[in-house]
Amino acid sequence: MNPVIELEKVSFAYEEEPVLEEVSLRIYPGDFCALIGPNGSGKSTLLKIVVGLLQPQSGRVRLFGEDLSSFRQWWRIGYVPQKVTALVDRALPLTVYETVALGLLNKPVGKSEQAQRIAEALETVGLPGASGRLLRELSGGQQQRVFLARALVGEPEVLLLDEPTTGVDFAAQEKFYDLLGELNRRGLTILIVTHDIAMVDRHVKQVACLNRRLVFHGEHSEFCRHPEICGFFSGGHHILGHCH
């Protein structure tokens, strides 16, 4: 099986400060992988490199086997950036429908198909019938689901999420991760940056640990057998309390 995302000795630095050093990582179809690590370990940077927002200083990135520099099939990748709900301004009269429709700009479809896809995406994230509502009138958790719908509406094969549940209450987080699990079971490959070790423990299949370098990548169960790694990346008690 060919990887959908492949990083080969990727290094990146902000000015003189190295953030990623020779990181090699492969994500395969059907993976549900959590990218964890301490603050400043390069998790979000790695995700931004994968979606082409940052250029690595060295190394190679391939998406679906194609070099990132020539990759154009961006509809195959859904992306939910960090703190996206902070963009929702009370002065902006953006409807849920208009927000989700933005996810189809790179994959234009007819008006009727657009409406159908948006309805399906909203149904998937548990917000059926919300298309006419204003984004600013929804709760943080609901807004997060709308942005997930925007990432899903183009029917991507890979979903990338950068700390999607920051600032969302526990119940909404749990529902969000349940939804991601369901999407993964339907065949969607997921790479999620998170600090939430409890959610990682309960929901994801693979874990990749970063601290500038990739220190661990493997099955979640294997990760838990390395208490020193667990402790190092999560402050010890958080993850050890959840590992089986």
Partner: protein, 266 residues
């Protein structure tokens, strides 16, 4: 008041309504990008183009268009590459633009009424050719927005995701800067450089107050822009007021109405 007096000013109404319809929607995108001061800065630079036109004894309009478009692109580049705060970049551009204009106008010995017509505009005395030029450019702006409004919304609202989705973000931002520069140049003869930025921002802000969708805010902003011009022109003729001032004041009343409506009805 005899209706004939308004027919006499058909050029003013034609050009003004076209300008109003185009400036409101562009203003909505600028507000969304927190770029409301960009047209204000560009008007100062446009003044440089006018002064340069006088100095070189050339037509001010094409020179102003060139200078304003270059300035719009430059401010975008400076903000992205130089790591300067957005409002600082805009402040620097506005100050330098005006300073250069003053120097050039002095060198051209054109400190006279000709400069004032560009600063405050005079919509009631524009020629039919100028009216049709304004109409053509306004239609071009509206057609561009009709084609690209969703992409511009994406870039203005969530640039990171727009970039990640493969949209040509830099090109779209340049497009918005170009549309803004075009409006400044159309507006300088009609409303004047000192007030055209208000006609972009105020109708857009009023539309955002009352709209219940983004698409609706674009329609409302065009409507409020045209109403501002129509209302201002009528007031100007009826009360013998300076048209540019009357137009912008009228837009201010519309904003106030929208502000109150949102807080009492919506």
């Amino acid at each position: 008041m005899d209706l004939k007096i308004y027919i006499l000013f058909w050029q003013a109404f034609l050009a003004g309504l076209a300008l109003g319809a185009a400036s409101g929607p562009v203003g909505v995108f600028l507000i969304l990008r927190r770029d409301s001061l960009l047209p204000h800065a560009l008007t100062h630079v446009a003044f440089t183009g006018v002064a340069l036109g006088f100095l070189l004894h050339g037509a001010p309009l094409p020179l102003t268009l060139l200078v304003t478009v270059l300035a719009a692109f430059a401010v975008m580049h400076i903000r992205e590459k130089a790591g300067i705060y957005e409002d600082t970049a805009v402040g620097i551009l506005a100050g330098l633009g005006l300073a250069l204009a003053v120097v050039l106008a002095s060198l051209a010995r054109s400190y006279d009424v000709r400069l004032l017509t560009y600063l405050f505009g005079n919509i009631l005395v524009i020629t039919p050719e100028e009216a049709f030029l304004a109409l053509g450019l306004a239609l071009l702006i509206l057609l561009t927005l009709a084609r690209f409004w969703e992409a511009l919304l994406f870039v203005s609202f969530d640039e990171e995701s727009a970039r990640a989705s493969g949209l040509r973000v830099k090109l779209l931002k340049l497009l918005l800067a170009l549309l803004t520069a075009l409006l400044v140049v159309i507006g300088m003869r009609l409303i004047g450089l000192l007030l055209i930025s208000a006609l972009m921002v105020i109708p857009g802000a009023a539309a955002l107050e009352v709209a219940r969708s983004f698409r609706q805010s674009l329609w409302f902003s065009a409507l409020f822009g045209t109403l501002s011009v129509a209302g201002g022109l009528v007031l100007s003729v009826l009360l013998d007021l300076p048209p540019s001032g009357a137009i912008v004041l009228f837009s201010g009343f519309i904003f106030l109405g929208g502000f109150l409506v949102r807080r009492t009805v919506v």
